[in-house]
Symmetry: C2
């Protein structure tokens, strides 16, 4: 296991210490070792909170900052943060106007957010949630409530964060964050596995010469394991289910292609060229494309595609200023 | 070879097409397929050019943008751009006030920049160069002219780019870019190899359970191959030669910790915590720390450390606004 770590069981705490030391203008510690809050001035606004397992950096903590999230609950690698951590994140983000908790659809996160929300409400903190369910490979469109949240969460944080930053109230932040992630369809393609330090070996495998279409962010099984194809075919395999999921034709979209960790940026851009060709052929206008490591799975190879349908309400929120480790505009 | 590519021999051209499609507000094509220029307005200013082999993304093309480089010459993977490409980059960047070509000390780049410069001067384009030599592992301090350029190049582009953007003349841009990279000491540590698509197999190897201190960006041999240690010891192994190279004690520095490609961001931040501890112990004040994948080697695992001594002249240029794929401030 070729890692830069000390005790494999303390990787997350040790990394959090590093983020705090490296980015003091972004992160402030809280009383909870697994909760970071934005270090800058936060005016009287709706608090925006996210949280999730570690190993997906820059998600989740990289989206704390100006025009994005105000606090983050940090879990073990590929595990939900505790209910206590979510509760302390709500406390850190609350300015008396309520808290929007924007996170992904995983059993552990759902359970812990629910508990934290009940505890927060006993303290008089109004918490509303949006649960991202953008991974088209994880369930069909008519069972969207069973879908996992993947990189569409970034669009949800961007839109919800921008709405909160301009002063929208909690109901409006929630409405817009929900609208943002509902407008997203995502899919991943995995080319190799990854190793959780505390385990010491890969928790799933992809044979060389193969790829897994629809793989989840923790190696959850996808739609099919197939022989590795060229980038043109991979782009088609990713675009087909995404474009079948919503009617994007003739509209304007924001596109995000994220690497899963170890795939070089040049390959992500190479893949995007073929995605862009397809969109052009379908009369879909790309308003903006962000290509890079935005939501990873340790050192997995592969990529995810997220396509978001834009309208006059979402577009200015996607384009609004932001400052964080992951996005600066 | 688990890659997202089409023809392995056309990876660079295919990727350039992707960068152009993904980031039209940053990149414009030129008549040369391996030269991109900044797509935004470039006022009457000194042109700043860089160039180098591909596979180091976001270097080199990710540093084209506002307050950074105006044009880039793009080589094959781990190979110098051609002299023609450098020449066309000079032409693309020249606004009649001359061109600063800021690149790294590698034989192929030196030869091709020299030829391109001679051709440019026949056309009346005044080109001056700064050659980065910041890798302390590649030669001792008294043979600095033999050192390779590594991630200190980023500081050189940032300072030179900011000086050009504020209207400094060519001599001043060159003086400041040279001062910037002379103020940098860097070292890398490699934990795994990488595979050039056209070769199909790793061009060097690092055995599991081992690491290579001082490794170059193309797998050039380092100072020593040693058993893999914990992050605390790795930080010490990296800090010792860097802090011995220049007298940083009592001063202010900018620090860059770059991943080599496949090492997760959380490990880079974890490593940085130990580097920051050491700096604190040596009374070195960190003005800013940038931690992430800023200068990679395909999917190598490992990290590089660059430390730059700041003064009142360099600090505002490091902090100046910039917009590019790699750095936005």
């Amino acid at each position: 296991m070729q890692r830069i770590i000390n005790d494999p069981d303390n990787v997350v705490d040790d990394a959090v210490r590093g983020y705090l030391r490296a980015s003091p203008s972004l992160y402030a510690a809280t009383d909870h070792p697994r909760v970071l809050k934005y270090a800058g001035e936060t005016p009287d606004k709706v608090g925006v909170v996210t949280g999730g397992g570690s190993g997906h950096e820059p998600a989740f903590l990289g989206y704390v900052g100006e025009g994005l999230c105000d606090a983050v609950a940090i879990g073990e690698i590929f595990s939900s943060p505790t209910a206590d951590a979510f509760l302390d994140a709500f406390r850190a983000a609350d300015r008396g106007r309520g808290v929007a908790c924007l996170y992904g659809n995983y059993a552990g996160d759902n359970m812990n957010v629910k508990m934290a929300r009940q505890m927060a409400e006993m303290e008089g903190i109004d918490v509303k949630t949006v649960i991202a369910r953008d991974d088209v490979a994880s369930a069909p469109a008519d069972q969207r409530d069973q879908r996992r949240g993947v990189a569409g969460e970034i669009m949800m944080w961007k839109v919800g964060g921008a709405a909160a930053a301009r002063g929208d109230d909690l109901a409006e932040v929630i409405r817009l964050a929900q609208k943002a992630v509902d407008a997203c369809s995502s899919i991943g393609i995995g080319l190799s596995s990854c190793t959780i330090p505390a385990n010491g070996k890969p928790n799933f495998s992809i044979e060389p010469g193969h790829m897994e279409l629809g793989i989840g962010h923790h190696g959850e099984p996808g739609i099919e394991v197939a022989p590795l194809t060229d980038a043109t075919s991979m782009a088609k395999s990713m675009c087909d289910p995404v474009l079948a999921d919503q009617d994007f034709t003739g509209g304007e979209v924001a596109v995000l292609v994220s690497g899963l960790g170890a795939t070089p940026n040049m390959e992500l851009n190479l893949l995007y060229a073929h995605i862009a060709d397809r969109f052009e052929a379908e009369s879909i206008t790309v308003h903006r494309a962000d290509i890079g490591n935005y939501f990873t799975s340790l050192e997995m190879m592969g990529a995810t595609l997220t396509v978001m349908k834009l309208d006059d309400e979402l577009k200015p929120l996607i384009d609004a200023p932001a400052r964080s480790l992951a996005i600066t505009r």
